[in-house]
Symmetry: C2
Subunit: 793 residues, 2 copies
């Protein structure tokens, strides 16, 4: 290939011109609102009134962008880049503008003087773009605000994209985070046959906001050992402040060529068959001075190559003529006249390295993954639905049955390879093991005869890191593919902040006209709070739902299917959605079947509805009370309470309501799934007391059902942070979510009932006390609870 080996002087000059242009454009975004081409002397009014943004990492990112352009062009690579360093947006935006993709996506920011002015003005300006990559940035697939997820995103993008190269620039700040540190081992899960390649570029920028970085200060042999320990072969490129740029260009070009040759060789070996083993993929270590090419010093203090260049290296330029001159000298050091023509467009030599069309980093279709999305071939819930002779007559483990459906989807996408299941070593524990009938867990490590279902081409991803699981799936869906992440409910909050960032990305992306919708992010929370019999208190946290419901209602959906068939319907639904975060809470333990296949579909379509068969309503009048529930354990306790009331207070008109889609409780004005007031009243009545048994923290129901006149008549039971190593019924009892307590709540809340039902109420309370003693003696639930089943209608 012509550009391999040494760069010609001309190539070197062209790369340098491109790099200088990016640096100029990046600095311009930080400072300028006028005179963008420095056609005249810089005056205070050309400078933004408020200087916001970050310079420190920009020159390094610009350098990577320039050199990626070269190799993409030369090798016709299908490549995207994940820009990890938090505050490098000016360099990335500069690259996008220069290659033309920014102007194509945002037509008023084209490649001329007016467009350059707008590019500069909008940065860190109200209504403009933030200081890190965001959905508005062409070619970006990650919300760059919170650090830690770049490498996991890159691996997610590479999975099942055999021809893709996902470059990932990792800042030495981000490298200190836990999620990033865990992500290095993702190379043990990357299949060189079916997956693309990931090329990490560890950018040793030297300083964070105010501190040196850990990795930049390691002795070189220690960092080398670390990267080899991660399974990589390091290639080193180092620039000091005084290194002539052409030397760096030559070194970086050679290192990139070498890395790409090794990737090609590893792929070729793996795809030729014959068990080449796990490749030791290259990693590029790029050491450049922080704020390189920026001001060397200020007021006698060094700036370049120090933490002082992190944000605005020269402040107060509008006020201080000396500093204004220093800024102008700095900007002119890039020689803008050589870079841009009389209209402000880039000169041809600046663009010599830029790839064409969709090969440009801002245009790669994988980075606007919705463009590549194909709907999944879904078998539909009926194909796996369990027959239900009558409500409560049989039991199934909901997630086990779901496992069958996932298996089918994996089978039906075997050729397309656009569906993955991820879990933190919990797929089997969460009873989804049937997927292993058709695929393995992805595993490139050593395999022993005692292993089960691990193999190099598997499509289930299991690693004991919720962060890595979530990051993989985010990267996979952002590039247009589908998946499901199953986790213990109690540990889902580990990724609360990651999911926030993804939800914010989706919320913003929905406003970006050129972004196509991407598949929903599906989280199955199972092994939930109510059945942690031996793990106890530490494994009980149903608060993830509260966390996500604080995020945009345009994006977030939460489902609590009460049984097996409803779980199938919900799963079928969420796998069809786009631009959503779908949280599904469902148990893995044996659970009564309440609804048959048709009933389940109808009930899930409504999202919330009356279970007539469970209540004792008379057609001619409003019920006396509504027993409502959301979640599988609450549904069981609610039905048991309804059965108790039917038996002991047969004259009471009880309505039983189940809510699958939590957002249905909200007003329509607050969430697209919300119920209009009239619909809400049709289910929950206008004024009757509602005893609501909820799976999680009870106040969430009050919040969602927040409507005039609702608050004081809703009485909600749920998890209230009382947990232990104990039995299933003891758990609901401790939290006042048990059937007896719910029935007692009804007695307490239906006007006039308390006196009449005092004896019944006392007997219920007696059972609760009896259970309390029994469980401590026998370690099991009272037989009358353990053996309970729905008496039928």
């Amino acid at each position: 290939m012509e550009t391999q080996g040494k760069l010609t002087d001309r190539e070197c000059a062209e790369l340098d011109a491109h790099w200088r242009a990016l640096n100029y454009l990046a600095a311009g975004q930080l400072y300028l609102r006028g005179n963008p081409l420095l056609r005249e002397e810089l005056r205070p009014e050309h400078v933004k009134p408020r200087l916001l943004g970050h310079w420190g990492t920009c020159p390094g990112l610009a350098l990577v962008h320039t050199h990626l352009n070269r190799v993409i062009s030369a090798r016709d690579l299908d490549a995207l880049c994940v820009w990890g360093p938090g505050h490098g947006a000016p360099a990335v935006l500069a690259g996008s503008w220069l290659e033309g993709t920014f102007g194509e996506r945002w037509p008023d920011v084209g490649r001329d003087e007016a467009g350059m002015t707008r590019l500069f003005e909008q940065f860190s300006f109200p209504g403009g773009l933030p200081s890190h990559t965001a959905p508005e940035v062409p070619g970006s697939i990650q919300e760059g605000g919170e650090l830690g997820y770049s490498l996991a995103h890159a691996y997610g993008a590479a999975l099942d994209n055999p021809d893709l190269l996902a470059v990932c620039v990792i800042g030495d700040g981000e490298a200190e985070t836990g999620p990033l540190a865990a992500s290095w081992h993702a190379n043990k899960f990357l299949d060189p046959v079916h997956d693309g390649a990931v090329l990490p570029v560890l950018h040793l920028n030297g300083y964070k906001i105010a501190n040196p970085t850990v990795l930049a200060r390691l002795p070189e042999e220690e960092l080398d050992a670390l990267l080899r320990g991660y399974g990589h072969e390091p290639l080193w490129v180092t620039a000091e402040p005084d290194t002539p740029p052409h030397r760096v260009h030559r070194a970086l070009a050679a290192a990139l060529d070498e890395a790409l040759e090794r990737i090609t060789a590893a792929r070729r070996a793996a795809r030729a068959g014959g068990g080449a083993g796990r490749p030791h993929w290259p990693v590029l270590v790029l050491r450049t001075p922080k704020g390189w090419t920026g001001p060397r010093e200020l007021d006698g203090e060094p700036v370049e190559d120090t933490w002082r260049s992190h944000q605005i290296p020269l402040a107060g330029v509008r006020e201080d003529p000396e500093r204004l001159r220093a800024l102008e000298r700095w900007l002119r050091s890039y020689r803008p006249d050589e870079l841009f023509d009389e209209h402000g467009g880039p000169r041809p030599e600046v663009l010599a390295c830029v790839p064409r069309g969709d090969r440009r980093l801002g245009a790669n279709p994988h980075a606007d993954g919705g463009r590549l999305r194909r709907s999944l071939p879904l078998p539909g819930p009926e194909a796996f639905a369990v027959p239900v002779e009558r409500p409560g007559a049989s039991s199934h483990e909901p997630t086990r049955v779901l496992g069958g459906m996932l298996r089918r989807i994996l089978e039906d996408t075997e050729g397309r390879r656009d569906f993955r299941v991820v879990a933190p070593d919990e797929a089997e524990s969460n009873h989804l093991g049937e997927v292993f009938a058709v695929t393995d867990r992805a595993w490139q490590g050593e395999t022993l005869p005692t292993d089960r279902h691990t193999g190099p081409h598997g499509r289930v991803m299991e690693v004991l890191s919720e962060h890595l699981c979530e990051g993989w799936l985010e990267g996979y869906t952002l590039t247009g593919r589908h998946g499901l992440f199953s986790s213990y409910e109690g540990f889902a909050p580990i990724v609360a902040s990651m999911v926030t960032q993804h939800a914010k990305w989706l919320q913003s992306a929905r406003q970006v006209p050129w972004r196509a919708p991407v598949p929903g992010l599906n989280l199955l929370l199972t092994s939930h709070a109510w059945r942690q019999d031996h793990n106890g208190f530490s494994h009980q946290d149903p608060g993830f739902v509260d966390h996500v419901l604080n995020k945009s209602p345009d994006v977030v959906r939460v489902y609590l299917p009460p049984d097996t068939n409803t779980l199938l319907c919900v799963a079928d639904h969420v796998l069809r959605t786009t631009d959503t975060v779908n949280v599904v809470v469902a148990g893995k333990q044996s659970c009564f079947d309440w609804l048959g296949p048709q009933e389940a579909r109808a009930h899930c379509a409504r999202g919330a509805g009356i279970w007539e068969w469970a209540g004792t309503e008379r057609p001619e009048r409003e019920p006396d009370v509504v027993l409502a529930c959301a979640g599988d354990v609450p549904a069981q306790e609610t039905l048991a309470a309804a059965a108790l009331l039917r038996e002991h207070l047969p004259e009471l008109a009880v309505r039983v309501v189940n809510v699958v889609d939590l957002a249905r409780l909200m007003p329509r004005s607050a969430h697209p799934h919300g119920l209009a007031d009239a619909e809400f009243e049709a289910v929950f009545t206008r004024d009757r007391p509602v005893v609501f048994a909820y799976h999680g923290y009870p106040w969430l129901i009050h919040r969602l059902a927040h409507r005039t006149g609702v608050h004081d008549r809703f009485h909600v039971r749920g998890y209230r942070e009382s947990g232990a190593t104990t039995t299933p019924f003891d758990m609901v009892l401790r939290n006042d979510l048990d059937r007896y307590r719910l029935a007692m709540d009804v007695i307490d809340r239906v006007p006039g009932l308390a006196a009449r039902a005092a004896g019944v109420r006392q007997r219920m309370q007696d059972v609760r006390h009896r259970h309390h003693d029994w469980v401590r003696e026998h370690g099991t639930d009272l037989p009358e609870v353990a053996d309970w089943s729905w008496p039928g209608s």
Copy 2:
């Protein structure tokens, strides 16, 4: 030292007896409810009806426990051990029982047959202990349920405990998590002069629940490189299923001796002065078969050394006589008759290696850190309070002033070294930089002339990992010392789940009679949602408060001081608390001073109160409306709204209320800081409309203020997930938290006011529209907003 070099045969036999005893006791906890000493043939009724628990990691942990006992005894070490492997509690409980500490703490579980029976029975039994280390376990300092935090906890324990050895057993499952992966680099922050040592023991157990582990399947040279890359010198001990135990004992004893010699040498070199540089601390790599010494196989499938030994290796033993015999053979393989005397107590040779008194792992006082806690020498808020001539006449950056107070505490604890400040590279950014006047950032890496305030003995801990910061501080406070973690508010959810685990620990620990209270965990959330001018949407998440307030009210406190002096009072208060998680939300940007030193103290003591000077109440009657606020930006907007109302509707009686301590809103029955109904009414009136401006997601206020008759008259404004790169006032405007909107809310909600004040209302709405246009044109706030100040009373 006599035990160095080779073990004698007798020592080896004694260690083996101890190890067998632990294994026996661990297996006994999984299976037995009777016949604990196998005095008779095992019958089904001796076996627990429900087999819950985990065997796989126990033999390895037991081996470590045995050998730690030896070296602690031989070297008179002051040592504690953090047991990372999630499900190893039976081995740890066995060790504690055997050394006698369990029975000393829990007198009905003494070292006799009855005590052994109770030890077995209570495990994974209702009311008993879970399958991982918990506060009830003597010697434990971490809630072992959620994986990832062991190594950070060990480092936190070692800080400022120069004679302590913190051993940390890291499971190869946990090692895959992000927080653990990040924690390896904590050795760059450990001061060999003032801090203790951390000895990581990487336990390669081979399998997780169902998967092989990444680290166990690395080629040995790759793992070796990885650990060297982390800055450690690895020592290897490997046991195969067929390795005779005595060989493993000898190898492990030699490796431990070698490790301890190296630690002693490193300490000595550092403490002799002369710049020995960062030590390359030893790490022990211990490879043992999962479920070692347990059943070899079952039904023709291998069990030992596979994932099948993760939980209960032999199930169905009550039902299947064959399996019952297999269980008995397994248990008898430890030769219990040789281990326990006729009363069920351990024989002397079993206890030969066990240290005495407080040297026992279950008795080390650092592991019950409250016993070592000393109250901080606190200067009091007045020493740093800013003078306030009249409300709003001056401004300060609250966290900057707090920095002065933290500096003083660091000075006053310089000799004691029991106070640390931690932050993810944000102490300076969060305006706490004054601390660096008296101490450095802890840093053992290379130092350059351009560094500022980094040094080997610094007491500020900065690393770009919220997980590591939180883990350090947890370990530090659990061992009885004090600290403060400052973080960007938006990224605090990164550690949501960690904080949950700590809160659960504290909640449980409060019920453990022998545990002394430990210092509160103090989280300062700053750089908050309302002032992310250039970071924008991704940096805006005020939901951490919602998350923690779902946890136990006995433990969790949340404060939102509205200005500088109140922040000082709150900080002074939280640093005096024990067994709490204190969340303080305060801005770093310039903020009006509302309260003088005395007023601030009185106001914070009340937690919520009326600001008479700000309102227009008449003494003779109830106000027409209450304008309430919590948080600094809401306080400013609320006061500006009050000023608008005073100017434009002077006849309106407005009460202004500020809430510092969010829990004051709760009923006294729900939180110890809650207000009784009469107190609540004295502040918020009985029936007047309340317009509440809150810093975070608005529904939290509804939840906290959940009392009869309150819901519908509280109208709450707050952050509603509308953010961008924009100006401060545009942020409040977008979220309807601005002064004009609050004043309009008053007009809309005070009966009869709407018609009368229609003109005023319209003018307010006009300003809002004008601002909307202005900010998009100028990038700044409207001058009348930007230049606003409180007009005084």
